[in-house]
Symmetry: C2
Subunit: 497 residues, 2 copies
């Protein structure tokens, strides 16, 4: 099946919109337009991992009659894969690790712990790191030297307490356990770099900036240093932990195969109704008795509770009644900063499999790695750009090809590009969440609060691996529990003993 999302370019076809994905659901609904299949116990808005987890838990564990409304033609939200000629390209979200509790619990539960592959493979080929800080020169290093460069830079960046952040953020799920952590949350990347600028070599500074912008997708000025420390603490307070958790292990056949496990378990209960291609216009509480959800096409659906998994940057496109809290509105209006561009390139140099590169700040794609070998024997590079030097990859493919080429000039020809434009995607308006300075201190609690009959759940305001697949599952789990605790007590539990 082909999704409307995503783009592909080859020299033969030029740019085409829409790529195949296991995540596309067809037919797009299992309920009749006329009767809408109600009454529903719960409506879940959004079929990303958060919505999928909530839907699964509500149908399977709680036995609720649940309706899933999804604006797109596929499951996965900001995290999905496209299989092209038998090879998986991760359009958004890729890596998982056994230190990510919620996603790993599901990976073992679905027996996919042996369906993972390493992204890095340094066993043959060029086997080096290419650092480019201007368009005309490259510095080549071993991967050991790359690790040491980034380790050194990141330890300087995070070492606010002589303990690499451990004492200021000892429990990352409880961010303000040490109240003074607020000052780091309020600090921008740029402000923190300014504090350590005399300690950083030129190469350390370039690599550091490229790496932390890879994490935030924003700019040095609009990305929160505290949010990076949160990723760092979740990863175990080390550079190696970051590499392991953030960019090392992926699903061998692409993650949409994983997302389908949740989907199939929920569908298998016979209690799931769903409508894809159904963007929501408004969500209205009906005097404490339930919630009406109105689609853009005018269809109305009613349920006792709603789980709304719409991302932060999209929430302001929906009308809510009663009005949302000022905390939530303030966060929605500010939005998160992640305007990441992720571009896959299939290149005709086998030896690039063991290549990694940074081209910063001059290039529109600043960080890339050899991520696999395609069935044609070419190397698959995954390349990232950020809002600090932004590109809309679909608007001028020659510019996109140039940015790919500038990562390692003269070393390859491009056979294929695959990407999605998350910034222009009206149902995402950006990539994974990354906080502005002060945003988490001010808004995290408010974003997690229930609003009448609506439970807001999204990886954007998870406590742990916020922004990750893991955080989406954390939030979906929480949302289903909230609904179960409220509605469960209203159901008669028949003691069968």
């Amino acid at each position: 099946m082909t999704s409307r999302d995503g783009y592909q370019w080859t020299p033969e076809t030029g740019l085409t919109q829409g790529v195949p994905s296991l995540g596309v659901i067809s037919p797009p609904t299992n309920i009749e337009d006329t009767d809408k299949g109600g009454p529903w116990d719960v409506i879940v808005i959004g079929g990303g991992y958060c919505g999928l987890t909530a839907t699964r838990d509500l149908t399977v564990a709680a036995g609720f009659k649940t309706l899933l409304l999804e604006a797109r033609d596929r499951i996965g939200g900001r995290s999905w894969s496209s299989n092209i000629d038998g090879y998986p390209y991760e359009m958004g979200g890729t890596w998982v690790h056994w230190h990510q509790s919620h996603v790993w619990r599901e990976i073992t539960r679905y027996k996919m712990h042996n369906a993972l592959s390493p992204s890095f493979n340094f066993s043959r080929g060029v086997n080096h790191f290419q650092l480019r800080t201007n368009p005309t020169t490259s510095t080549y290093m071993t991967h050991e030297a790359e690790d040491e460069l980034l380790r050194s830079a990141l330890h300087k960046f995070t070492n606010v307490d002589g303990a690499n952040g451990r004492t200021v953020l000892p429990f990352p799920h409880d961010m303000f356990y040490v109240p003074e952590f607020r000052k780091y949350d309020e600090m921008s990347y740029a402000e923190r770099i300014d504090q350590i600028r005399d300690e950083l070599s030129l190469n350390e500074r370039s690599s550091l900036e490229a790496f932390i912008l890879l994490c935030s997708g924003g700019t040095l000025e609009n990305s929160s240093f505290g949010e990076f420390l949160h990723w760092w603490a979740m990863s175990g307070y080390t550079y190696q932990g970051c590499m392991d958790c953030l960019i090392s292990y992926k699903f061998t056949d692409g993650q949409s195969a994983f997302a389908r496990k949740f989907w199939e378990e929920a569908v298998g209960t016979g209690r799931l109704g769903y409508v894809f291609g159904c963007p929501v216009r408004s969500v209205n509480e009906i005097g404490g008795n339930g919630v009406t959800v109105t689609a853009r096409d005018g269809r109305e659906f009613f349920a006792k509770r709603v789980v709304c998994t719409i991302p932060l940057n999209v929430l302001s496109t929906i009308q809510f009644s009663p009005a949302l809290s000022t905390e939530r509105i303030s966060a929605m209006q500010a939005g998160h900063v992640n305007m990441c561009t992720k571009v896959h390139a299939e290149v005709d140099n086998k030896d690039m499999r063991s290549w990694t590169g940074i081209a910063y700040p001059f290039n529109k794609l600043c960080y890339a790695i050899g991520d696999g070998t395609t069935p044609a024997g070419n190397t698959h590079l995954v390349c990232f750009g950020t809002d600090a030097n932004h590109i809309q990859p679909d608007e001028d493919v020659r510019e996109t090809l140039k940015a790919v080429g500038q990562l390692a000039p003269g070393k390859f020809g491009v056979k294929r590009l695959v990407f999605h434009n998350w910034v222009k995607d009206e149902f995402a308006k950006g990539a994974w969440f990354f906080s502005r300075p002060g945003m988490v201190s001010e808004c995290l609690q408010g974003l997690r609060e229930k609003h009448w009959g609506v439970v807001f759940a999204n990886s954007d305001w998870a406590l742990g691996w916020r922004s990750f697949i893991d955080g989406a599952i954390e939030e979906g789990t929480r949302a289903a529990r909230v609904v179960l605790e409220e509605l469960g007590t209203k159901r008669e539990v028949k003691a069968r003993l």
Copy 2:
């Protein structure tokens, strides 16, 4: 409530058996002796974390009428806490971390992520590490020097591949992804130490041996090097990762409060029957139609499926019909090696809060840390011994007090001891699982297999954090899934759409 398990000693009371615990269940059953409350869908044997997880998932998610049979008077199995004068002592199992996927998923699900405390507190007091390799001398070091000593020793120990074990065990949940890993699994601690003996300083060797025996609870000869590498890989291949995951963060009020969350959720369904104080004598398959479980007191219970969570070292006390597989029998007869002794001591020196110590090989307790400050203002030390120099802590309290005292001679008086003798406990016959050389290669798969209508589940044969609370939850989750997949398809799913 007071459990029959555990011992307490004070100068005033002497040794007394039985300690209070939140895990004690009273009354011990909710079914009538005469009708046994059947028929049951599933019988779960054992109320440790594995059995509790299976019970919860079977009653809540699957809606099965489930009977829990537990030999003891309490939940928690080998992992429970005693609260004495308002202070928690962890009798077996203590530490958790956000890198342990299954337990952390439950911690966030039950909103206990802010109910944790650090074990180490180096903010005041002696603030040193005391290394004793003979009864007459002590070497004092800073904790930084302690970390460097153990880091260096453990890196030499694990560095079989120039990458600290990463290349031989890249996916710890898939232990034989690299088939040659088998040779490390077959290697004993002693054999590995022999390979690196010329690289280790005397202090490194003593500290290394004490640390790895702390992990295995066995001897250098009977503990598998590969099993240690598995812990190491799960921890992220670093000493700091081990310290973080193994011994840093615990439940502020003791873990039995956590275990009760599973219990209360299951009881709340109205579908759980339970009998505590009910050891099982035999488990008999009835011609493919179901399973009869016979208690020691002669009561018989029947269900469609049985989840048997009895630990490896106890399995041979139960009669199974049909006979178990030769792989399982072989593993049962060999048993795992962990004969750990864990002794809590309340000592009258406040300054010991920031103390850590190793006393090895001469002392019966080889590794200890300051783990808290009691309500009386004393320091709580947690002390460990292993089978390499074993003590039965209840048999001669003077010897136990001497072993505690020898950790830091002349530095404190003992106000209280709290412990359980896991080795003499007929329902444990040892502490957490630790593999003999070759045992995992030979038996892991066989231990995980279903036997007719009986699903065997225990942390002893988990794939991930085997031996940990996390592994127990992993296994309980798996067992409930297996039963659900089998029985679920036999139930009529009424499509309500």
